[in-house]
Symmetry: C3
Subunit: 309 residues, 3 copies
Amino acid sequence: MVKASDFKGKHFISMRDYSREQLEFILDTADEMVELEKKGSDACKGKVLASLFFEPSTRTRLSFETAMFRLGGNVTTVADPMTSSAKKGETFEDTILTVQNYADIIAMRHPDDDAALRAAKVAKIPYINGGSGTWEHPTQTMLDLHCMRYAKGRIDGNTIGMIGDLKHGRTVHSLLLALRHFDVKVKLISPDQLKMKTDVIEGTGGRIEISETNDLKSVLPELDVMYVTRVQKERFADPAEYEKVKDAYIVNADLLKKGKKDVVVMHPLPRINEIAADVDPLPNAWYFRQVKHGIYARMAIIGLALGVL
Amino acid sequence: MVKASDFKGKHFISMRDYSREQLEFILDTADEMVELEKKGSDACKGKVLASLFFEPSTRTRLSFETAMFRLGGNVTTVADPMTSSAKKGETFEDTILTVQNYADIIAMRHPDDDAALRAAKVAKIPYINGGSGTWEHPTQTMLDLHCMRYAKGRIDGNTIGMIGDLKHGRTVHSLLLALRHFDVKVKLISPDQLKMKTDVIEGTGGRIEISETNDLKSVLPELDVMYVTRVQKERFADPAEYEKVKDAYIVNADLLKKGKKDVVVMHPLPRINEIAADVDPLPNAWYFRQVKHGIYARMAIIGLALGVL
Amino acid sequence: MVKASDFKGKHFISMRDYSREQLEFILDTADEMVELEKKGSDACKGKVLASLFFEPSTRTRLSFETAMFRLGGNVTTVADPMTSSAKKGETFEDTILTVQNYADIIAMRHPDDDAALRAAKVAKIPYINGGSGTWEHPTQTMLDLHCMRYAKGRIDGNTIGMIGDLKHGRTVHSLLLALRHFDVKVKLISPDQLKMKTDVIEGTGGRIEISETNDLKSVLPELDVMYVTRVQKERFADPAEYEKVKDAYIVNADLLKKGKKDVVVMHPLPRINEIAADVDPLPNAWYFRQVKHGIYARMAIIGLALGVL
């Protein structure tokens, strides 16, 4: 039986660490945050979040900070990697050992794949992984699940397409790992050069049906959820390869006509051109509404780690 | 009859949008903020201002942030344009559609002339224009009016000189548009290359007497208020032109002897050398006292937009 | 008889300005903050700290900000020197005259040696020196003293070694000046090129026994406290000189075996390699615990200057 105190004082670094019951407990807690976000709270009064973004991210940083404010707490921010002690030659571990004296909880974005695991080893206060290289982005997954559950009523029973760059995208890595606990089918849709990392697929332990394709159109009619990510030119060694495939992963209103009428289109944002503007007015467009769920999910994660909920 | 609820949930983007009664209502509200600024307030408890400065501005940013703090609210900040999602290729509209999920109100500085109008079109929460390219800077105008009214007792009846770069200066654009509602005379004093934009003069609708000159000394004896702005070398195609005119727009103690004894000298700051240091100790120097009125004006603007006053 | 009100409204810029009684009053106040830091406080409710770091410093900035949050106040931050008005050509004094309108108290880090003294001359609100060039860093000294007193029980009676770059290190300048009031012996241990500034030694007024050496090992057995700072390569005109001396000032577990069993090892951080990682697990390692005392000391300094304690 999962309970709030299970999360108190704990780090939040990887979707590998959670059971279905635990994920659902966090999602249910996020549900309770919807009301709290509107009326405010003093749950974290006097507490301080260190919001450390050693890689620029307006979006995730502001989401964490507002989540803390909605809980009544304060935030001290490092938004510019150039001002970090790391630039003076300090080890990453020393930075954590120092910063933990300034806060009750840390949320960090870092360009290194192993940053979250290394931080968790030394931090004596809860460390929330706000994106660690191409490895994982577990708070994004909690908001994705929360939005998906809200949009479709439930997570079970859906066929979920992950589209785009599945190799470098930390959001799809965390999402696929979380989905292993649910009764879903996953279609991995990407150019051959950008296929899902095998260690992530192996991390699902064969619990769910996963298929891979580079042909979005062929699987589109089956999808209940489309989780779209960007295919970046700079990921291709040969620019000609990029030119060949780029259009195959662009979602527009015309394409959606070939999908289910109530397909939910999600995106971790920022969206460049991989979802065309003509999708924005459609009821299928959930990517901007999705953002709000980030506040709920992060309020839940912070509040549980601090033991105030 | 203007009332507080008229401003609730509304954007604040241009001086073109307000009547005299509305401006005076905001100024009167700012009067009430003088007391609140000292003793603090819980009016905005639990609320969040997104302070987004896509163009550096210590001054205006800190003024907005402290205004929000004095009202009891919190602030999440983007101070560095390099960390913005815009750099990842996101459209400006997408940034607004995203950020509005993180806050109750947005204050933004942006280098583009049309930023404020574009934001206002899509933002579902109040958007406060904190400077939009060379177009307008309406919160600066509210503080200018509030300071002017305080320094002279009233705005009506004054002859106001705007001095310096009237072409690129967004502060003088907004100020001139606001002054159209008052019983004032305006002297536009600038080098020929930096004359007030004609669309701004046209925006006053011929309601007030406006005259243009490049000779500060000739109109100085008539001025009750001198609103000084900087003449920047880089605005001149030919550096020789700059050298020719630059000294004609420098205000010093000697020059002030030829003006009215109680002339009020204002400046949006930062001041470089266009007001000499020997003016600082004179009772005519209002430019540093002027800064404090920015807190009062922005408290009023934020508080009215959030409907908490 | 020192009392809290002596500090109200006062700047905090140099260790030259304080008596032993005043330093002990601040340290005793910092003792009271230990409890307050845990349970929070509303002492500074509604008040605003302007945290102005015109030189990057994650560590000191976050420490000041959290100190203010623990007292219930708010913080408006400039973390990036590139966004400062100084870059637009504004004088430093004008920046202070402006910013003081946005806050109740200023904490500033600045690269210029004379920044703190210049600011104190014009600021009408309390100005806290958070590091002024190579001149002084007095809040660091208060935390150093607070940690030292806690680790050793008392400051009197100790032999304190300052190790490393004593020429450019503002922390050791302020620390030596403060120690003149205590019954201590000081050993200054540095390469010849990086000896303590003579004006700082003269500032102690001959009140304490100070000796200088470049041989750490020779004085090690006498030391109760080792205050280690970094020897930076770029401080040497001739890189060969650096290579010759660098290893002589590295503290490791082997070296410590030749010192007193209970020697306290401190460091202002960030630490690069001047303290080896094998010291970290030893009970002598105080440099990370030292950080927490920064919160207590800065809470005391801010609270006293604002007259809320």
